[in-house]
Amino acid sequence: MSEVILTMEGIDKSFPGVHALDHVNLEIRKGEVHALMGENGAGKSTLMKVLTGIYTKDSGKIIYEGKEVEYGSPKEAQDAGIVIVHQELNMLGHLSVAQNIFIGREPKKGGLIDDSRMNTEAAKLFEQLKIKIDPKEKMNRLTVGKQQMCEIAKAISHDAKIIVFDEPTAALTETEIQELFKIIRDLRKKQMGIVYISHRMDEINVITDRVTVMRDGAYVGTLITKESTKSDIINMMVGRVIYEEPKTESAISEDAPVVLKVEHLNAGKMVRDVSFSLHKGEILGFSGLMGAGRTETARALFGADKKERGEIYINGQKIEINSPSDAVKHGIGYLSEDRKRFGIVTEKTVAENATLASLDNYLSGMFINKKKENEVTEEYVKQLKIKTPGVDQLVVNLSGGNQQKAVIAKWLIKDCDILIFDEPTRGIDVGAKSEIYHLMSTLAAEGKSIIMISSEMPEILRMSDRIMVMCEGKKTGEIGIEEATQEKIMHLATQRN
């Protein structure tokens, strides 16, 4: 077995309200490709950010090449030979490949940048990696795959000894993925330590030597890839004890009517031929990993984004939705996952936000009937228990949970029958969370139909009557709550065909 190059021991990191890393361990050997896996929010990126100096750890040790280290910035880590190839490439499109690789440390001759030497050095790097790229080519004329290889070249030009790949294959074609694997195998032969963060089980199987799994900020364990199965890994990823009571049976009857039917919804790469139905009084959970296409599906359905194809039926009747106003007219409401950017109008009051979707109902002739507006807002403030000194309070001054309730109030005041909640409890404290769960259950019991998009497994299992799982734009399966388990959901969430 080869030598250990990096040990992260007992790494602990907390943010206000979140224990992001709880005594995490990671061991990387020379000449190894080590997968780092876990659900969204498990702590993988946080751990890597601690390693590369973006975050400072609260406690624990990082031992690199036998010495204890602590980096204060990505540059320091980079100079020491630890480099990350990010998911979102930070490339300067209008500059050439060579210029990008040597940005910040351009070879100079007599005070001016030595372009020819820069190009030759870049060519040498590509030779080392056995890739064919022209160093003089403008970066934005290369495919994403080739851009990524430039990032790798940039990494080894820093004399990297450890390269971390964060979801490297998300934007690549099959051929590009194979090319990437060739390079990775080559780097492995050169005794580099490679950390490979990915959700793609099939790739983990092919290219990695060991797998470390994290869950909810904690280290679960390390397996040898060849000796483990997909189920083993999934069990480690989700094998948590759920303290909240998961739902054991659907709240609606077998023959509940279908209120919404979506067929062959297509919108770009993220929504590929998605079809599903929603029953009256049902809570349909949309599960999947980040990037699975759930928000994109909801937005395409709601008319917020353009779609290429898709038939939508409400109560059996085909309807046209080409904009959010169409959707709202048909009684669909959408609570976006980004409350601050898409949910609330920050400079306005609770009352002004509450009637935004139904202002026509609160007019007297040409003017807004403030009295009626305040009355209805106060009614819902009471019903939803929104903590606010008054309906004339600026909504931005409310806490996250109460802001969320204010947005919910907007859709209830509009009297929507179909509600799409996108990550409804994100960024909300525990107390407010359970209030929102209770609210959703009450709404469903009153006959409203809910689609709930969530990346939190316990939440999905607690609230849904039925769960639809997506992976990379496709619907991979549907499970009734009676048969649902975390493992089954995760299998479907990582199923790429």
Partner: protein, 322 residues
Amino acid sequence: MDTIKNNSFVKKVGFNRLVLCCVLVLLYIAFAILSPTFLSYSRILSALNYAYFLGFLAFGVTFVIATGGIDFSIGPVMFASALISGQLLTKSGFPVIVCLLVSICVGLLFGVLNGFLVAYGGLPSFITSMAIMQLAKGVGSVFTKTQSVSWPQEWYRNLVKMKIGNTQIPTGLIILLLVAVVLWAILSKTKAGRYILCIGSNKEAVRLSGVNVKKWEMLAYIICGTCAGIAAIFYVGAYTTVQPGLGDTFNNEAIAACVMGGTSMSGGLASVGGSFIGVMVIALLQEGILAMGFQKDYQYVITGIIVIIAVFADIRSRRKKN
């Protein structure tokens, strides 16, 4: 300072606007001391002449800035309206009332074009309104074959100033105040005003609430253009002659008046009343500088400084809120 800010009267009228009123009064006193002739009634009327057309321009652009946009075409559109309708009056013999209506319509049409390009075309208002500005200059000039137009003495002058017995009544001020009240009501009490302000604050949230944002955004530009058309009437009523190719300087002054009055450049926060007081300050400055014998260029310098101070104060108060 905080006790003053938290006083309920202050909150109702607006701290910003009260400060501005104080500035207005102080400026007047300062000019009166520096130039004794300043206290005469005719001086006040002269200052008001500048305030009428500038006021309408400022009211209009208040709506555009409320949506988070900007309109650099207002001055030249006003001149184009005055040139085109003036040409019809002096060279084609159209009756005065028709020409006044034409002036308003020209402004409205430019507003429609501007609004369409920004709201439906998705073009940035900064560039679009500059293009419309050039277009307005060109259209005005082409229509009068590069000649300037002098509006004759006719009944419309009474809209600006009317002689009753021995005194001159500033009718323009009355009309300006009436229009200010109407526009204030639209902005703060109607659905249109609510949508316009919300769009300026968070357009996407409004769109996702099912509102047809394009329609309402365009309306703001239409209001702005129409106001420029109305402003033209008050310009020629006071100053008689309009020349093609000019008008940009009024853009900055109108926008400065808005920002001084509490309308925020980032949208969502607007005040017609504030713009009114801002226009009065600028009109007073204008008159005061002339009265002291300085050239108009000094006015530009001072307006420029005021804009910088006003925008700086606006951004600082936003940063504090966040």
